[in-house]
C-alpha cells in the first residue's frame, strides 16, 4: 500500500469533481440499498420460517375458502399425531383499528396451544393465564402496542372487511419476540370468541401444527392431503416457508422488478465513475509517462488507475451505507410504516452494496486504466500539459 498516498492525492486533485462523483454515486447507491431492502423485508417471513418445522393446512382452492371443523378430529387422530402435534386453528381476521390505514396482522387462534407452537413469541405466564380467563382477551406484540400507544387492560375494537362482526377486545398482556422483532407487529385473540361472534358456525381459516421433525413433513402432507382429496373441501398442506411464499407470488414479479432497478442503478453509477476516471486519466497523460520513465511498469499504472476508480466507488458506497444503517437499523425508521413496519438492511444487502461498489469501481476504471497503461511512453511525454 505504498502507493495509497499517491492514489488518494490524485483522487483529491480536483476536489469538486471527486465530490460530485462520490455524491452522485452515493445517491444511486442509496436507491440500491432502499430497493433491495424493500424486497428483503417482504421476503423476511420466508427466511424466518425456514428455522421451524411448522406446517399450515389450507383449502386447496385458496385461503379465501374456509375449512370444515370436522377436519380437526382427524388432525388430532393417531395417524397424524405420529408425525405432528401442537395443532392450532387460526383465522386471519384482516381487521384494522379505527382507521382503515391502521391495519396490522390480527388473528383469531386457539389460545391454549399458542405459546408452544409459536415458541419464539415470549408470552409471560401471567399473561397466558389471563388470556385463558378472559374470552375477549387479546395478546399484543410489544412493537405494535408501542406503535399505537396501547396499554394493558385497554379495550380496542377491530373492524374488518373479511368478517361482518366487530370484536371488542381486552388487551390482557404484551409479548416480545427477541429473535424476530417483526413478529411483534401482531395481535392474537381467541378463536372461540370469534366463533361466538359469528354465531357458532365453526369457520376455520387454516390449521397449523408442528411437525415432529423435518423428515415428518412430507409424510404429513401425504396423510392429510390424501385424506381430504376426495372430500368437498380438499386441502393443501404446506410448510410455513411455502405459506409465506404464496404472498410473494401474489405480489407479482417483484423480484425481477427489483433486480432490474439494481442493475440499472449499477450501470448508471459505473458510467458516472468511468467518466470521472477517464477525465482524471486524460489530465495525467504526461505524468503517467514520467512514472513509466522512472520504471513503473504497465501493470503498476493499470493498478494505480483502477485503484482510483475503486476508491471513488468505495467511498461513494460507505456514505449511503452508513447513513442507511443509521436511519433504518439503528433509529428503526421506515419509509412507509403501514406496509413496512420495519425496514432493516439485511447482511445480504450490505454484501451486495460492497460487491456492487467493487465491481462498479473496477469496471469504471478498466478502460481508462488500460488506455493509460498501454500508451507509449514517448507519446505521453510528447503531450503538452
Amino acid at each position: 500500500m505504498k502507493f495509497l498516498r499517491l492514489i488518494v492525492r490524485n483522487a483529491l486533485r480536483n476536489k469538486l469533481r471527486t465530490g460530485l462523483t462520490v455524491g452522485g454515486t452515493a445517491f444511486l447507491m442509496f436507491v440500491l440499498l432502499f430497493i433491495r431492502t424493500a424486497l428483503t423485508e417482504m421476503e423476511a417471513w420466508e427466511g424466518e420460517a425456514a428455522k421451524h418445522d411448522r406446517i399450515a393446512i389450507q383449502h386447496s382452492s385458496g385461503l379465501a375458502n374456509p375449512l370444515p371443523i370436522e377436519l380437526e378430529n382427524f388432525l388430532r387422530g393417531d395417524e397424524v399425531s405420529k408425525h405432528g402435534y401442537q395443532l392450532q386453528k387460526m383465522n386471519w381476521f384482516g381487521g384494522w383499528w379505527q382507521d382503515p390505514r391502521n391495519w396490522f396482522a390480527n388473528l383469531a387462534v386457539d389460545h391454549p396451544i399458542h405459546r408452544e407452537l409459536w415458541n419464539e413469541q415470549k408470552i409471560p405466564d401471567d399473561v397466558q393465564a389471563r388470556w385463558a380467563e378472559v374470552k375477549s382477551g387479546a395478546i399484543v406484540g410489544k412493537a405494535l402496542a408501542d406503535k399505537f400507544g396501547w396499554k394493558v387492560n385497554q379495550k380496542i375494537s377491530l373492524l374488518s372487511n373479511l368478517y361482518p362482526c366487530v370484536p371488542e377486545l381486552d388487551i390482557v398482556g404484551l409479548f416480545t419476540v427477541p429473535s424476530d422483532i417483526r413478529q411483534e407487529q401482531q395481535l392474537y385473540f381467541r378463536w372461540d370468541y370469534l366463533d361466538e361472534l359469528m354465531g357458532g358456525r365453526k369457520i376455520v381459516g387454516t390449521y397449523w401444527m408442528n411437525a415432529r421433525s423435518s423428515a415428518d413433513i412430507p409424510k404429513l402432507k401425504e396423510i392429510i392431503d390424501g385424506h381430504t382429496k376426495n372430500s368437498s373441501d380438499p386441502t393443501e398442506t404446506v410448510t410455513e416457508k411455502e405459506f409465506a411464499a404464496q404472498f410473494m407470488a401474489m405480489m407479482g414479479n417483484i423480484k425481477f422488478f427489483v433486480y432490474f432497478i439494481v442493475v440499472g442503478v449499477l450501470a448508471i453509477m459505473t458510467l458516472m465513475t468511468a467518466n470521472t476516471v477517464a477525465m482524471s486519466a486524460r489530465e495525467r497523460v504526461t505524468e503517467i509517462a514520467v512514472l513509466r520513465t522512472l520504471g513503473f511498469t504497465k501493470g503498476r499504472i493499470l493498478y494505480l488507475v483502477m485503484a482510483e476508480g475503486l476508491l471513488l466507488s468505495l467511498v461513494g458506497m460507505v456514505i449511503p451505507l452508513g447513513g442507511a444503517l443509521l436511519l433504518f437499523n439503528v433509529w428503526k425508521l421506515s419509509p412507509n410504516p403501514q406496509w413496512f413496519p420495519f425496514f432493516f438492511i439485511a447482511p445480504g444487502t450490505i454484501a451486495l452494496a460492497v460487491g456492487a461498489a467493487l465491481a462498479s469501481g473496477l469496471l469504471a476504471a478498466v478502460v481508462p486504466a488500460t488506455m493509460s497503461a498501454r500508451r507509449k511512453i514517448v507519446d505521453g511525454l510528447r503531450q503538452v500539459v
Binding site: T297, I377, L381
Partner: protein, 226 residues
C-alpha cells in the same frame, strides 16, 4: 571498449505517421565511457530527444542495437525495460515533470517505492539526494511552492536517488532563468566530476555544452563531425 556505459551501433529510427514513414535517426554509432559527460547539440527536429529516448529504453530503434550498462535493450520485454530503467537510468526533463500532488520529499522518494527498501532506508537515500542538490530545507513543499530552479533540482535529486548508471537530461536548463540555469549546470558538473556519474545531455545552449567533456552534433538525424 567493453566497459562502455552506452554503446549504440547502426541505429536508425523511423516513425510511422498514418501511412507516411518519417525517418528521424539514421546510421547512429555512439559510445559513452564511464564517468564521461556528453552534450548532444543540433537544430530542432534533428532527433536529439529521440536518441536520448532510445538510450533510456523509452523507445525502440527500427534498426541497430542499443546497449546500456553492458545490457542489450533489444531483447528486453517491457517489464524488463521498466526494471532496467528504475535501476540504471536517471532522467531529467526540460519541464521538470514533478508529480504536483506530492511534496519534494515524496517526489524524490517515488523511484525508491519500486524497490524493497524499508521506509527508514528510503528516507536516508532521499535526504542524501536532497542534500546533494542543496534542498533539504524544502522537503515538505509542493512543486507549486517552488521556483523553476528549485523544481529542477528536485527533479535531479529524483534522478540520482537510485544511484543510476547514467543520467540523461533533455534540455535541463531550457525553461530556467539565468541564475537557476547556472546553479543546475554547476550541479550537473559536480555530479559528473565528483560523483563520477556518466551524463548525456541534450542542449541548445553552448554554455551547457561547455560543461561537458565531449560534444556531439546531430543534423537531420545523423551524427556529423563538430
Amino acid at each position: 571498449m567493453s566497459d562502455a556505459v552506452v554503446r549504440i551501433q547502426g541505429v536508425a529510427k523511423v516513425y510511422q505517421r498514418d501511412s507516411q514513414a518519417v525517418p528521424v535517426l539514421e546510421n547512429i554509432d555512439l559510445e559513452v565511457a564511464p564517468g564521461e559527460s556528453v552534450a548532444m547539440m543540433g537544430p530542432s527536429g534533428s532527433g536529439k530527444t529521440t536518441l536520448l529516448n532510445l538510450i533510456a529504453g523509452i523507445d525502440r530503434p527500427t534498426r541497430g542495437s542499443v546497449e546500456v550498462a553492458g545490457r542489450a535493450l533489444a531483447g528486453m520485454s517491457e517489464r524488463e525495460l521498466a526494471k532496467f530503467r528504475a535501476r540504471h537510468i536517471g532522467f531529467i526533463f526540460q519541464l521538470y515533470n514533478l508529480i504536483p500532488v506530492l511534496t519534494a520529499f515524496e517526489n524524490v522518494e517515488l523511484p525508491l517505492l519500486l524497490t524493497s527498501l524499508s521506509k527508514a532506508d528510503r528516507r536516508k537515500h532521499v535526504m542524501t539526494a536532497l542534500d546533494v542538490v542543496g534542498l533539504t530545507d524544502r522537503v515538505a513543499h509542493y512543486p507549486r511552492q517552488l521556483s523553476g530552479g528549485q523544481e529542477q533540482r528536485v527533479a535531479i535529486a529524483r534522478a540520482i536517488v537510485t544511484d543510476p548508471t547514467i543520467l540523461l537530461a533533455d534540455e535541463p536548463t531550457g525553461d530556467l532563468d539565468k541564475r537557476s540555469e547556472e546553479e543546475v549546470l554547476i550541479l550537473l558538473k559536480r555530479l559528473n566530476r565528483e560523483f563520477k556519474k556518466a551524463i548525456v545531455m541534450v542542449t541548445h545552449d553552448p554554455k551547457a555544452a561547455a560543461m561537458a567533456s565531449r560534444t556531439v552534433h546531430l543534423e537531420k538525424g545523423e551524427l556529423v563531425p563538430a
